[in-house]
């Protein structure tokens, strides 16, 4: 692999590029899924390929191929060179990159047990047992499905500036869900194993059957629960994967600098967090602190180096409620006059162009205990479970509809509420936070984050803990 990458880079330098990088990747993925109590699909993917970026006359070009031969990489480099020259025909200003020290390094995810080598029978047993647990607790079950997914990627990144990086990154996780139907209602509850850049221990540490049982009990309760109050204002509390999704869709995507600069207008949209707001815009209350942190060991979005060879780092996005920084690349950082990239460039395959992607975007813990937040709440709705989410093109207006809610009254969790929903503007929403817990802070994952054209799907991490939002519009008319 490394030799092939060097041959590609040599070719690029001979052609006279201003800059080039080459990524050569081999990957393996195993997905085991169970549906309605029986193995559904057992699949294995063996992938390889390379991608070449080049700057010529100040324009970008990229080409990628699956054919791992010298002839193919030479041809692909020539294609990237030609495309870059063509791009320059429309370029008004030449591409500039912020400096990054050239480095020779390697990185490997710390694992205890290789998740791809675990006997298939063992994984099937976990999934079938969880499926059975859901069915045992749910007389109204209509369908169940679950899967465990494990990935390994070996990647060499070479740049014309002298960087040589090898990385081996593991990722594994899974989820299940059950659909129940009764009393004129169809309801769903999911149970997950958050993805982590870890080994099979990430699966083993979770009692998936217990989670499936609880999910089934909750799904059943939804069939006979009262509907969420319609078109009213209420305090809400988020403390699980739906909080992770909320972070993801608002500050996560909103602070991606490429989006701010308009490079995703044709697909993923833009962001209202324009550079004039950096350092002075109040995005949240003083209790709100967000970071992008690729250094958290075992988190879904962690790595050693991004696809431009920038070492993993933690950067502040929102500090004490003030928007202070972006997720960026070498090019986008240069465009707004930043001195360094946040190290967020990632491609989902060798055939894709690296883009600014979330690593682990985390809401930092506050001072409360989660039970104190509940006890301190007079009336609110606690909402859990990723379900509906929709955000506008500028990451301002959003509407979420989690899977389940509970009414909190006088400091106690009381009855279940079905079809909860809430809507707000991003900065109003985070501005309403008055309590963030520290004791239940943990890492979650959001799967299938999509960006770019061709669309690239990745898995990213989000840290968070029980958080209270004041006076939010809930029960959107027509949504329940």
């Amino acid at each position: 692999m490394q030799e092939l990458a060097e041959k590609g880079l040599d070719k690029a330098l001979k052609l006279g590029v201003e800059y080039a990088d080459v990524r050569v990747i081999e990957s393996e993925r195993r997905t085991i899924s169970v549906k309605d109590g029986k193995p559904d699909k057992l699949s294995h993917t063996l992938g390889s390929g390379f991608g070449v970026r080049a700057i010529v006359n100040g324009g970008w070009g990229f080409a990628g191929s699956r054919e791992m031969t010298q002839e193919a990489i030479h041809k692909t480099v020539e294609q990237a060179f030609r495309i870059a020259k063509a791009s320059a025909l429309t370029t008004k200003k030449k591409v500039k990159l912020v400096e990054v020290p050239s480095i020779t390094a390697s990185y490997e995810t710390k694992i205890v047990k290789d998740p791809i080598s675990v006997p298939l029978e063992e994984i099937l047993e976990i999934l079938i047992s969880a499926d059975r647990s859901f069915r045992d607790k749910s007389p109204h079950v209509r369908s169940t499905s679950s899967q465990i997914d494990a990935r390994r990627e070996v990647k060499y990144t070479l740049t014309s500036e002298g960087t040589r990086i090898s990385q081996k990154i593991y990722l594994c996780g899974g989820e299940g869900r059950g659909i129940v139907r009764g009393n004129g209602q169809t309801q769903k509850r999911t149970y997950e194993i958050n993805y982590g850049s870890r080994g099979y221990e990430n699966i083993e540490e979770v009692d998936l059957s217990a989670r499936a049982s609880q999910a089934a009990i909750e799904a059943e309760s939804l069939l006979y629960a009262e509907v969420c109050p319609t078109e009213t204002k209420s305090d809400i509390i988020l403390d699980d994967s739906n909080l992770a999704l909320q972070i993801h869709e608002t500050i996560g995507h909103g602070s991606e600098l490429d989006r701010v600069l308009g490079t995703e207008v044709d697909y993923a949209g833009m962001s209202f967090l324009t550079p004039d707001k950096k350092g002075n815009f109040r995005y949240g209350s003083k209790y709100v602190n967000f970071v992008a942190d690729a250094t958290i060991e075992g988190a879904a979005g962690s790595f050693g180096f991004d696809d431009e060879g920038v070492p993993a780092k933690m950067v502040d996005l929102v500090k004490n409620g003030i928007f202070v920084g972006y997720q960026s690349s070498r090019e986008t950082a240069a465009e707004i006059g930043d001195k360094t990239s946040s190290g967020a460039m990632k491609a989902s395959s060798p055939l894709n162009l690296p883009l600014v992607r979330m690593t682990n975007i985390n809401l930092l813990p506050g001072e409360w205990k989660s039970e104190e937040i509940i006890e301190d709440t007079k009336e609110a709705i606690l909402m859990r479970g990723q379900n509906l989410y929709s955000v506008d093109q500028m990451r301002l207006n959003f509407q979420f509809g989690p899977e389940i809610g509970w009414l909190i009254k006088n400091g106690e969790i009381t009855k279940v509420i079905r079809n909860p929903s809430y809507t707000a503007m991003s900065y109003d929403f985070w501005g309403s936070v008055d309590a963030v817990a520290k004791d239940d802070w943990k890492m979650y994952s959001v799967n299938g984050c999509a960006k770019g054209k061709p669309v690239q799907g990745i898995i990213v991490g989000h840290g968070g803990s029980c958080t209270r939002f004041r006076n939010i519009r809930v029960g959107v008319k027509g949504g329940n």
Partner: protein, 454 residues
């Protein structure tokens, strides 16, 4: 070796290793994407992809799947062995009966164009520059354009051990543009698209003009109150509702999983009697016609909705045999993973007789909508969805467009929207996702539930 020859070789290898049945899907593609923003190309790429997916079924009806990104026989063989090892630990699937038998398939002519395959990077850059310049020249308030120009050349082969062996080669190309207009204190946004199998037939000039015209005409938007309005949907907006009807309604899997809004309603009046929807994978008016589905079963036309009455569901071979039906040729093409639900992807909505102007004239208090963005499902069984309008919405009163509106959030049931259709446009346009052909629609009721700031 052709992809079909390689697939047949892989089938022989798998059979030699003792599998009961095997299906191979092989593809090779060259995709190019030229993205531009702020009037310049910022991402410009070409990707050569290849993959070969093997699905094996053992004698005891256990199955396994593998995917390799190579046509090297040694690597394919290791993929087959992986699929078999996975199948061996799987459990028997009593619902599996058999893979499909071969049937006569008439190839479709006019789906491959050299002009698309040979469109080189310099030509692409020049076409994009022409597009950008045409939009910029339309009006002094045009600020910039963004978008993408794509071409795809795809070879595909599907074969199984019962003798299915089909292959095809096709091309596609599309241009999408979003143009921004700006003057002091206000901004407007216009969107236009063209999709052709022959890239040389793309009408860059009119695409640029349409986007620029809408960008200028959406400057100075006003906020309209939340509530119910009559709504006219341009074809890009229409596609949202018709796609939901297809994926949540007519998939035999969704129907039997309890996720379809049509449960127990086949043969009854569910949507407006003006609405008729076919699915026909062989129809050349769709963007990506296909002679066969992902299992190599011939595509054929089926009536989905006849005057608002749902008539037929879409089946692949598996669901067809499970529920005692015949495959309708709707198995999605699957690479290395579970096959998605059988859904209609070549939907054709029968045109009506209303012009765009007539639709506006017939509107007492309503909106004209270009397209939607980030729409998600709330209640699949009731068809409830929520999302944003995007790139062009205008307020209409007493038969006249009064002013552009800020973008709005809607939360509504697509079933309700399509029950209340009162006019259907007289022209159909090719829309993607991936291949529908649709007219404009007008509905009597559409519910807005939120505002944003632009």
């Amino acid at each position: 070796m052709s992809l079909l020859d390689i697939s047949k070789w892989a089938i022989e290898e798998a059979m030699r290793l003792g599998v009961y049945q095997v299906e191979v899907t092989a593809n090779s593609s060259l995709d190019t994407t030229t993205r531009f923003t702020k009037n310049a190309i910022h991402q410009n790429l070409a990707s050569h992809n290849q993959s070969l997916s093997v699905k094996v079924i053992m004698q005891d009806k256990k199955s396994g799947i593998s995917l390799v990104n190579s046509i090297d026989k040694k690597i394919i063989k290791s993929g087959i062995e992986r699929a078999i090892s996975m199948a061996k630990v799987s459990l028997s699937d009593p619902d599996f009966k058999t893979m499909p038998e071969p049937k006569n398939i008439t190839p479709i002519k006019g789906i491959y164009y050299n002009e698309t395959a040979e469109y080189d990077p310099e030509e692409k850059a020049k076409s994009v520059k022409f597009l950008i310049d045409t939009a910029a020249d339309y009006n002094k308030n045009i600020k910039w354009s963004a978008g993408l120009f794509t071409t795809q050349v795809t070879k595909l082969a599907i074969a199984n051990s019962l003798g299915v062996g089909v292959e095809t080669e096709y091309t596609n190309s599309s241009i999408e543009i979003i143009t921004k207009a700006q003057t002091i204190g206000t901004e407007g946004s216009g969107f236009a698209v063209d999709r052709k199998r022959n890239a040389k037939e793309i009408d860059f000039y009119n695409v640029a003009l349409n986007a620029a015209e809408d960008a200028v005409s959406t400057m100075n938007p006003r906020r309209i109150p939340i509530g119910e309005y009559e709504a006219i949907f341009r074809p890009e907006a229409t596609t949202l509702f018709i796609d939901y009807v297809g994926s949540l309604g007519f998939s035999a899997k969704a129907y039997n999983d309890g996720q379809s809004f049509l449960i127990g309603k086949l043969g009854t009046q569910v949507l407006n009697n003006k609405l008729t929807i076919w699915d026909n994978g062989r129809d050349l008016s769709t963007y990506m016609p296909q002679a066969f589905d992902g299992e190599g079963v011939p595509k054929r036309a089926i009536m989905l909705l006849n005057g608002g009455v749902p008539e037929n569901l879409c089946y692949d071979n598996y669901t067809a045999l499970k529920f005692g039906k015949e495959s309708t040729g709707h198995a999605p093409i699957s690479f290395g993973g579970p096959r998605d639900s059988p859904t209609p992807i070549h939907k054709i909505v029968d045109s009506g007789d209303a012009t765009s102007d007539e639709m506006i004239q017939e509107t007492k208090k309503g909106v004209l909508i270009t397209r939607f963005w980030y729409v998600r499902t709330i209640r699949p069984d009731q068809g409830t969805i929520s999302g944003m309008t995007c790139d062009g919405i205008w307020y209409i009163e007493n038969g006249e467009i009064k002013h552009p509106s800020q973008q709005m959030r809607f939360t509504d049931s697509f079933v309700r929207v399509l029950q209340n259709i009162d006019l259907i446009g007289n022209k159909s346009t090719v829309k993607v996702t991936p291949s529908s052909t649709l007219p404009m629609l007008k509905t009597a009721n559409f519910r807005f539930t939120g505002h944003t700031e632009f």
